[in-house]
Amino acid sequence: MSDFFDATVLARAQFAFTVAFHIVFPSFTIGLASYLVVLEGLWLAKKQDVYLRLYKYWSKIFALSFGMGVVSGIVMSYQFGTNWGPFSDMTGPVLGPLLGYEVLTAFFLEAGFLGVMLFGMNRVGPKLHFFSTLMVGVGTLFSAFWILSANSWMQTPQGFAIENGQFVPVDWWLIVFNPSFPYRLVHMVLAAYLTTAFVVAAVGAYHLLKDKQNKAAQIMFSMAMWMALLVAPLQLVAGDLHGLNTLEHQPAKVAAMEGHWETRRGAPLVLFGLPDMAAEVTHFEVAIPKLGSLILTHEWDGEVQGLKDWPPEDRPNAAIVFWSFRIMVGLGLLMILVGGLSLFMRWRGRLYDQPWFLRLALVMGPSGFVAVLAGWFTTEVGRQPYLVYGLLRTSDGVSPIDALAVGTSLAAFAVVYFVVFGAGIYYLLRLMRQPPRADEPGPQGDAPLRAAGIASVPPPRPAE
């Protein structure tokens, strides 16, 4: 039992808990910010009132999610120092500037223009307002750029030297554009877009189930389904490439993902099983012969390494990695299926009024969040037992703080996060339950709208 409560385990649990809560919000706001740019752009280009309504509807949801992302993010920027002091001291010269650039290029940009975006519609012209929305959207992407560069460097470090126990930079280009970074960035940004698309689709589907004529709901559902159709298959390709990159740089992680213990040629693809770290075997294995080698090496008889190639203390926890990976992939395949079905529904003219399909889209609403979390669990647990892969062990990076202190703060975080973000998620769902209305109030509230007096509810049109 004492192992379970040791300070390193608790510090890891605290980091995992706070970062897992945090990542949920950016995954949604990265996609939603881009969506708001598109909506406002469409409104400016087409001058159709419905796009402004959609913009206002989603900007309220954005404001709430973004606020929660900010406060949970501040915790992260301090936790490196409070809980991982030696790690910070050792990696600060390399990782610090990446996070510093994130603050300078992304956080300030988002925060600076967010106020104008949310509260400034009646104070600045439409073009300047659009510019503000655009800057917030660009800011979220810059943020993804830097934080993924930093994370990727910890996975695939290069461009550094070690002096007096500290990682020091040698070549910034190599550090920022380290080998796994491009793959991870593309994979995460696509994940954020998919996450948002499925939330938007679920909200649209919910309102279409109540009123299939709701024009705003139709538009959001249709846009989200185009995203699912186009981006979900793209994500499969990006994920495959990312996996091959991982095989090259972190083969132990891939062995854990695949549940492989023995190194062999013509390795099977394990669909299901229970990897057992102690017995060094995957129980109840259901596998397709040779397919594993084909996927990983693109050859029927390619050699694939198994976990036994590494000493036990250097292996990641295969049980967690194996299953989180399968959850992610399974949800990704479901997303592709939904996207494909949407094309069929569209072709049959039933996109907005096929109840079982709308219900499927509703159920798939949270799928992006689950997939994102499962994906991060795969890559982060798969990186263990290292903080900086192959170089700095997790147990060597933790602050010299009593288990009691870490445990107490972990408990405090758990209580506060469940109460505060629980309330926040409840408010989010309540906003989403409101249908987008003809006189949609923005975050701006009751302030008069340009066209509010004139625009009427569009007359119902016969189905095309």
Binding site: L64, T82, D89, G96, G100, L104, V116, F119, R123
Partner: protein, 333 residues
């Protein structure tokens, strides 16, 4: 060559000062919440900072992130040694941050989120003050790691600086509200402001006398000739500002009280800097000992030189967009 560590020491100090000033007044709004009744008044108070609070708090992230990059040893040691007050501050900031959104989304529980906003603001400020006090009194370092105990930060001095900062931020918040509001609310804030100003000047005096008692080196710097002469402008300007502030409040000036309150903060901050220089982890880790290699400092400096002016530019623009008085029913939700 430039002394990059020194330049970065000044830049980090500047970022922290900007944070203290900006988030100071919006935390101050929360501290004043219990003293000002009426839902409409509180709506106006909150709306006066709603468009800018997020940007203000970003300076706190820059302070943390910047320290991680350029003085990783200081980041590692200071944050580890101040574990409890920092975690409490982060949790408090969560409560007050979400209150901006939640308060308007849930009429039934508005009093609850009022409490979260006020309580979060007060606790976050108090913790920042405790952190400041603990930092001034010194942190024990051995072999690049924190060597003290879990409760070293907890002393009468750090509790007092915690209290002092609550008074100080409340004064900044009051100055901001005088500028941004009118009518009965403004009159109420004027009434509070005299007491807060007197309280802050009293606290500055106590901390100024207490600090040299903690540290002989600091005492030597301030109470010896010619140090006394060189450093004398700081206390003299504090007194001048305090008197000016008293007059400005009595004359019901609108902008000057805020400006002079900021002045008191800047002067206290300068006094602190002059006491602690060149240490970044008092009492004996210097800027140069804690600095990252020049390759890191240079890389960050290029970005900061280009981006900080841009940031200051568009941040000013955002403030300008929301200039003028905030009126009931204005703007939000």
């Amino acid at each position: 060559m430039f002394d990059l560590a020194l330049i970065w020491g000044l830049l980090i100090a500047l970022a922290v000062l900007i944070y203290v000033i900006l988030d100071g007044f919006d935390l101050g709004i929360g501290i004043l919440f219990p003293l000002i009744k009426g839902e409409q008044n509180r709506d106006v108070m909150m709306n006066s900072v709603a468009p800018v609070w997020d940007g203000n708090e970003t300076w706190l992230v820059l302070g943390g992130g910047g320290l991680f990059a350029v003085f990783p040893l200081a980041y590692s040691v200071i944050l580890t040694s101040l574990y409890a007050p920092l975690i409490a501050m982060l949790l408090a900031l969560i409560f007050r941050g979400v209150a901006f959104e939640f308060r308007f989304k849930d009429a039934r529980h508005k009093p609850l989120w009022d409490l979260a906003f006020a309580g979060g603001s007060i606790l976050a400020t108090f913790c920042q003050g405790v952190v400041l006090g603990a930092f001034i009194q010194g942190i024990e370092v051995q072999d690049r790691a924190y060597a003290g105990g879990w409760f070293d930060w907890l002393t009468p001095f750090s509790l007092f600086t915690g209290f002092a900062l609550v008074v100080g931020y409340a004064l900044l918040g009051a100055g901001w509200l005088v500028m941004k509001t009118e009518g009965p609310l403004q009159a109420r804030v004027y009434d509070l402001m005299t007491g807060l100003a007197a309280g802050l000047v009293f606290c500055i005096g106590i901390v100024s006398l207490w600090t040299p008692l903690l540290n002989a080196e600091i005492a030597g710097r301030w109470f010896s000739w010619p140090g006394l002469l060189y450093l004398s402008p700081v206390p003299i300007l504090v007194l001048v500002s305090a008197l000016g502030l008293y007059r400005a409040i009595r004359q019901r000036r609108e902008v000057l009280p805020f400006v002079l309150s900021l002045g008191l903060f800047v002067l206290s901050y300068a006094g602190l800097g002059l006491s602690l220089y060149p240490n970044i982890v008092p009492p004996d880790v210097t800027l140069w000992q804690a600095a990252a290699p020049d390759k890191t400092l240079g890389f960050m400096l290029v970005g900061a030189a280009i981006l900080l002016p841009l940031i200051l530019g568009y941040t000013s623009y955002a403030y300008w967009v929301f200039r003028g008085k905030v009126r009931p029913g204005d703007g939000y939700h």
